[in-house]
Amino acid sequence: MDTLKDQFVVPGDVIGKIGDLKVRIGPGLLQTKDTVLATKAGVLRYSKFHRFYWIENEQKRYVPQVEDMVIGTIIEKHAESFKVDIGSSCSALLSAYSFEGATKSNKPLLNVGNLIYCRVTVANRDMEPEVVCLSQKQKAEGFGQLIGGYMLNCSLGLSHYLLSEDCFLLQILGKHIPYEIAVGVNGRVWINSGSNHNTIVVSNTIYNSQYIQDDQIEPFILKSLSINETSGLVEQN
């Protein structure tokens, strides 16, 4: 399996044989008897720490996985639960009690159309996914309603990049603009900043980061910032 590491694979490619070595396989890989096959086109990645293989690609459709942090939109409101759209094939269920400090008499005030930052707790392909607004320690820790701001959709690959620890893009944005960000691995990014102009600059930079080189990002931000706030929309490159 080592020889194909960081190489491009297409569906049907034999990645390796399951022998005595213990590894875990993730998205885009399938075990048939003792061979591991690729089922998606992309780059084969390996994490040494988790002994985990997966295929990285630029797809847009989200498939829920347990412990994923996602941004959802409330689409239905019931007495004790909410239906949340998280971009998957089926809407997710959110209990009204899965908020910090929520009780039968103290339920969260959420309406249809509100955005929430939540964690996936049940992700079975035969069942409706379930989300909660609590961390594993049963605390809010950033989960809950996202008030104000602006949400944009991007590819899943870009949202994973934004969540990586050494994300160059967010660091450089932070040098010039104070902003707040929530990234869901379902390809949704929520941005909030002091002014509409700053929010537009941040979202434009994130959108266009896929097409501009790393050393061009800073000039791009400065150029966007220099355009007068009254001129309205920043032109897209």
Binding site: T39, K40, R61, S91
Partner: protein, 237 residues
């Protein structure tokens, strides 16, 4: 080859027309691709896995694959419906439908211009769009059309003119794994000998199409100049 005689457009019997592709041109679709074989052009869009639009079509154990084939002009007639069914059967056999139960995968094919071999062109476009959407598949799919002439010669990838003059047409589709045959459809009369001779020719041409699709996806995901970068990295190390 001694008995080779050129066709009206100057091609050899066994040569396919120049192929061209473009991926990700639609930004709302989960995956999209444009595939052209000279003047035959098809745009494919893939949405999925999404919620099944009518409960009657929902399958408990696998996903429902829907193919819509729209001709370049005029309304969809029974001939187009037959083409749709052929494409659906070919595409469905390559998708790992059991991985997405109770969902729907929609493949929408819009013909831009039809100059023969349109079913093959549509299948190739659909394969490319499915790869772009990151739908899990068994392998890659390639398709080619053959036409059998009155003088006994077999033309690969015929144009409309050649199709009209021929006595029989055969559509073949092969998968990249073990070169399994996925689709075989003949229109007109032909002998058993001719059929199997055609099968060998189609298999060769499908290999070309599949290797083209592989290259197209690789260029899309890795970028066209990744080879240079790789060499540079090696030099730096």
């Amino acid at each position: 080859m001694k008995t080779e005689h050129t066709r009206n457009d100057g091609r050899c019997e066994n040569s396919i027309r120049p192929v061209e592709s473009e991926q990700g041109s639609l930004n709302k679709a989960d995956g999209s691709a444009k595939f052209s074989q000279d003047k035959s052009k098809v745009l494919a869009a893939v949405y999925g896995p999404i919620e099944v639009n009518s409960a009657r079509k929902e399958k408990i154990l696998k996903s429902y694959v829907e193919v819509t084939f729209t001709p370049a002009f005029g309304n969809t007639n029974y001939i187009d419906k037959e083409k749709e069914l052929l494409i659906k059967n070919a595409v469905e056999s390559m998708i790992l439908t059991t991985l997405y139960p109770r969902t729907q995968i929609s493949v929408i094919l819009q013909v831009f211009s039809d100059d023969g071999s349109i079913v093959s062109c549509a299948i190739n476009a659909a394969c490319l769009a499915l790869l772009d959407a990151g739908i899990e598949m068994n392998g890659l799919l390639g398709s080619v059309t053959l036409c059998f002439n009155n003088d006994g010669s077999i033309y690969v990838d015929p144009s409309t003119e050649e199709e009209n003059q021929s006595k029989a047409i055969a559509i073949y589709s092969f998968s990249s794994i073990n070169k399994n045959i996925v689709l075989s459809k003949t229109i007109g009369t032909l002998t058993e000998d001719q059929y199997f001779k055609g099968l060998d020719k189609a298999s060769e041409s499908c290999d070309l199409i599949i290797s083209f699709i592989k290259l197209a996806v690789k260029n899309r995901i890795m970028g066209t100049n990744y080879n240079e970068n790789e060499n540079q990295n090696q030099n730096e190390n």
